[in-house]
């Protein structure tokens, strides 16, 4: 067997140009599969990262929307959720660890002569326990700030840099305005730069105590959303149904609110990306098939060319099985080597895409394994027929072949 393997390598090495050309199809096929799947995998990872970096086991409750149709357009319901709903969730849902109502709106913020736009978010201090944001300097506001309705603010790094170009923002006052509404706050904390997170962009936000802002800045009874956190990953689904039953009790209409859990989102993303990866991989896999046909073609030529050799081998004692194995081994070695080269090319391609396409790519062991085994299978599948033909040659006629 080892001897046969060695011979297969030798025979392949004999006609280098032809071997290289017939390998190219497989190399391109494997590289394409790996490259394409690496892009899908990388994208999936970066989506998951942005979904999970904000925190874990979060549940978002937002107002529902009316259905369009019959001439009406779909419109978001705004006057639905109230801070009391958050309180009731806190009381009635054992699987929920933390919950806070959130008011959100865009305002102009000023400090002396500097001014900028920012998203003001009014939330209870538990928000900082629920989401992964870190302080660049200063501190978060706490329960006593909330109870005393102190006008203190934790601001995003970008906002801080714009309002305080000369540095220290701590202890400074900012003015938040929108039309006739205005209120001043003292900066007690600056957030570390973090990039976009699931439902907020901390870099461009100003977070203030809910009680301080609710009647002054927002002047409405309804809240933008309610954010809750389940006790654990296992309790996430339980928490969602508990929240649902609390809200359904109140509204008696499930279209008035929407509950989205982070886990469900993750699940959806995973599923979608798996399907996408498979589809893209399969399309790239077609080139493997084409490469396989190229291999079959070359093996058929090889068999014809070596008819006399086959006759000689049979005359000196090779059985059909020997001949079959010899040619099968040749095509498998051919596609296997091409597969290995294809992996190298695939890695290169993935790196290249990451560099010029500025997308994240990731080559997983699974895709490498699948690509190589598929290429060996291609060798086996497309090598069988030529090898069968070789093994069935009549030795007397094969010996006569010129």
């Amino acid at each position: 067997m080892l001897d046969m393997l060695k011979e297969a390598f030798r025979s392949i090495a004999h006609n280098k140009l032809r071997t290289a050309l017939s390998m190219i199809g497989i190399i391109i096929g494997v590289a394409a599969v790996i490259g394409v799947v690496s892009v899908a995998e990388g994208t999936s990872r970066s989506i998951r990262q942005s979904l999970t970096s904000i925190g874990s086991n979060l549940i978002l409750v937002s107002p529902g929307f009316t259905r369009g149709g019959g001439g009406r357009t779909a419109t978001a319901l705004t006057e639905v959720l109230e801070k009391e709903d958050a309180d009731r969730i806190a009381q009635l849902c054992p699987s929920v660890r933390y919950v806070t109502p959130i008011q959100q709106g865009n305002f102009i913020v000023q400090h002396e002569r500097q001014n900028s736009m920012a998203t003001v978010m009014a939330a209870r201090p538990v928000l900082f326990d629920m989401i992964n944001v870190k302080l660049f300097q200063g501190e978060f506001f706490n329960e006593s700030d909330e109870r005393a309705k102190r006008r203190v603010a934790v601001i995003g790094k970008e906002v801080a840099d714009e309002l305080f170009p000369n540095g220290d923002a701590l202890g400074q006052t900012i003015r938040i305005t929108s039309g006739s509404i205005r209120q001043t706050y003292m900066v007690i904390g600056v957030l570390e730069k973090s990039g976009n997170l699931l439902f907020l962009n901390p870099d461009r936000s100003i977070v203030v105590p809910f009680a301080s802002a609710e009647n002054r800045l927002f002047r409405r009874k309804n809240v933008s959303m309610i954010v809750a956190q389940a006790i654990s990953e296992n309790m996430a689904n339980q928490a969602v149904s508990e929240i649902d039953s609390v809200l359904f009790d109140k509204f008696q209409n499930e279209e008035k609110y929407r509950i989205v859990s982070q886990d469900a989102l993750l699940e959806t993303v995973n599923q979608t990306m798996a399907v996408l990866s498979f589809m893209l991989g399969s399309i790239a896999g077609i080139s493997l098939l084409v490469g396989g046909i190229g291999i079959m073609n070359i093996m058929l030529v090889t068999v014809t060319e070596r008819t006399r050799e086959i006759g000689v081998r049979k005359a000196i004692g090779a059985s059909r099985r020997h001949i079959l194995l010899q040619f099968l081994l040749e095509s498998i070695v051919l596609t296997f080597v091409a597969g290995l080269l294809g992996i190298a090319a695939g890695f290169g391609l993935s790196k290249l895409i990451a560099k010029i396409g500025s997308v994240q790519t990731a080559v997983t062991p699974t895709v490498v394994l699948v690509a190589v085994s598929v290429s060996i299978m291609v060798g086996l599948f497309f090598g069988v027929w030529p090898a069968m033909r070789a093994s069935k040659l009549d030795p007397v006629e094969a010996l006569r072949y010129e």
């Binding site: 049979k314 005359a315 000196i316 020997h322």
Partner: protein, 230 residues
């Protein structure tokens, strides 16, 4: 003397469109152990077909062939391959060496199919090449050898698994008379050491070396004579 090969009323009929070609038309023959048999006949007499049948490269249309008392018509492909591998050794007019392999590797090939371990194989191949006078050409490829040398490699290859009979088809047909004579000397030498040999030829010069000459024409045996040269 023991029988090596027994050919019993063998016919080989090819169909060419509507025509029937009777390559062999009822041939019976016995090859005895240790003899040097010459099968002579013009081209188309069926002598090569007979050789192929005796070497299990082909199957008769009718009749039976026994190799070392085994009837071959009932054997399957692996069994036939084994007989070709171990019981007979073929030498062809065209040498039929594998061009990509060295002399040594060509001689090793039948032993690979027989499953002989590498070291033993190497040693035996070397011995055989030395026996045919090519001890200094072990690593040459066929294209680097003369016709006579190639045929000697082929003889060494045929002997690799110690066959009971050596079957040669016009072994000197592609050689000049001098190297042809050398090849025949090798055959004679082998025969003196007890090797059973069958040579198929149309050349009376070759026939002189045999113990017994069987003459064929049109698929039939015409005559048999014992050579009195020796």
């Amino acid at each position: 003397m023991a029988e090596i090969i027994r050919v019993e009323n063998v016919k080989k009929i090819y169909r060419m469109g509507d025509n029937e070609v009777r390559a062999l038309d009822g041939v019976s023959l016995v090859v005895e152990e240790g003899e040097f048999l010459i099968v002579m006949g013009p081209s188309g007499s069926g002598k090569t077909t007979l050789l192929h049948l005796m070497g299990c490269l082909d199957k008769p249309t009718e009749g039976e062939i026994y190799i070392a008392s085994t009837p071959v018509s009932k054997l399957n492909d692996p069994q036939l391959a084994k007989i070709r591998n171990k019981m007979v050794g073929f030498v062809f007019q065209q040498f039929n060496l594998l061009p990509r392999l060295t002399a040594l590797e060509n001689v090793e090939l039948p032993m690979i199919y027989a499953g002989v371990p590498k070291a033993a194989r190497r040693r035996k191949a070397k011995e055989l090449l030395e026996l045919v006078g090519l001890g200094d050409r072990l690593h040459h490829r066929p294209t680097q050898l003369s016709g006579g040398q190639m045929q000697r490699v082929a003889i060494a290859r045929a002997l690799a698994n110690d066959p009971v009979v050596l079957l040669a088809d016009e072994p000197t047909g592609n050689l000049d008379s001098k190297s042809g004579e050398e090849i025949l000397k090798i055959f004679s030498g082998l025969n003196k050491r007890g090797q059973t040999i069958v040579i198929v030829t149309h050349d009376p010069e070759v026939a002189r070396h045999g113990d017994r000459i069987v003459r064929m024409r049109d698929g039939k045996i015409l005559s048999e004579e014992v050579n009195v040269h020796a």
